[in-house]
């Protein structure tokens, strides 16, 4: 996974994959690969959220 990808970019890719698959443009041969990529993107986004949450918690705790 590209480490320079931002959360928003990852979400865009995810939505694009979703759209491609839903529209039926994709070849069946590509489905599995695309699903794999989608799962990776979701995981990436979740990790980003978790990292941000850790930061947020730390910042809030420091301020108290």
């Amino acid at each position: 996974m590209n480490t320079e990808l931002t959360y928003t970019e990852a979400m865009k890719l995810l939505e694009e994959i979703s759209r491609n698959i839903s529209s039926g443009e994709l070849d069946v041969d590509q489905l599995a690969a695309k699903l794999k990529q989608a799962k990776e993107l979701v995981e990436f986004c979740k990790q980003k959220l978790q990292a941000v949450e850790a930061d947020v918690n730390q910042i809030l705790n420091n301020e108290q």
Binding site: E15, S18, S22, G24, L31, L35, K39, V42, C45, K46
Partner: protein, 408 residues
Amino acid sequence: MEALSLYDLNLRVRSVLEDTLSEPVWVQAELSSVATRGLHCYLEFVQKAENGNTFIAKARGQIWANKWALIQPYFEQTTGQPLSPGMQVMVQVEVTFHEIYGYALNVLDINPTYTLGDIARRRQEILRQLETEGIINLNKELELPVPVQRIAVISAEGAAGWGDFQHQLVNNEYGLAFDVQLFPAVMQGERVEPTIIEALNQIAAEQDRWDVVVIIRGGGATSDLTGFDTLALAENVAQFPLPVITGIGHERDDTVLDLVSHTRVKTPTAAAEFLIHLGVEQLQRIDSLRASITDAALQLLHQQQMRLERVTGRIPSLWELYKTNHLHRLDTSLSELQNTIRTILDRQHHRLELVSTQLDAADPVRIYRLGYSVVRKDGRAVRDASMLRPDDEVEITMERGTAKARIQ
């Protein structure tokens, strides 16, 4: 021709005078000089013409020690002033004539009320004149600058009043700083007017350097205030460009100078206290402004803190909401994707099945299984019996196996 000796003549004059003016008389006159020698007081009385410039009468006089010891305190206590030149007096006199010293008035009593009345009348005249000139309130109408710190003092050098004033100002308990400079003047007698006017002129020449003028003199046991009751002095003070404060050390009544000055206090010490009071007022004003600024700032700070706390307090829940939304969105998109893919796969699967069913249906084996057979002639399926002729050889394909046959 017979002639009298001078001595005889003087004796005769003396006896005439003593016979005709044997009783004491009250007389009104102006003093033109006053001098004490030993315990006696020697005077000169004059009367001026109506126009005020030429003498129309003059007489020497004296108050012997036994009378002077009574008259002096009585007069000074009543009028607040010593006998002095220029003063109008009403005195009870004995007319005397001495063979050597000549005509003289021996003062037995004095009416200080007459002098007071005269002083008051002269003051009234000066005040009327100032009013006519329209300047009587000019100095009072000046505003005291803020702060009052640069003080030009008119007083007599070495006078107790000037020392008191300085001491009081310098040692003020509030730590107020004053810039004080003395402009010396004579504070008693005839030189009061010209020297004070000279000092005022010096101050006016550098008026930007000063905030106020203070005219002070120490109050002695007796005080000669006549010098302060002159029109020229009053005009100078009334029209002076800086506020003038007077503290010329007397309790009884106000001189014209006091009436035209901006502020009048009784003593030099009181003048210093007045200036200190002005400074204290400003300090209090600053303190009160500082307090209100501090209050306002604290209040503002408190409000902003509350606002900040409210906003900060909302951050965790906002974050939770944000995170939940995004997690939900991620989960949903993934599961939707999986569903979509499943649907696609299902559909493809279904299509495959359909195709294979169709293929199955088309498979001849299935027909053979039903008991049907296919007749071929020359490798081609025979669909019409008219295509066949007797003795044609055909091939019959069944579920299991193939047989050859001949058409009859």
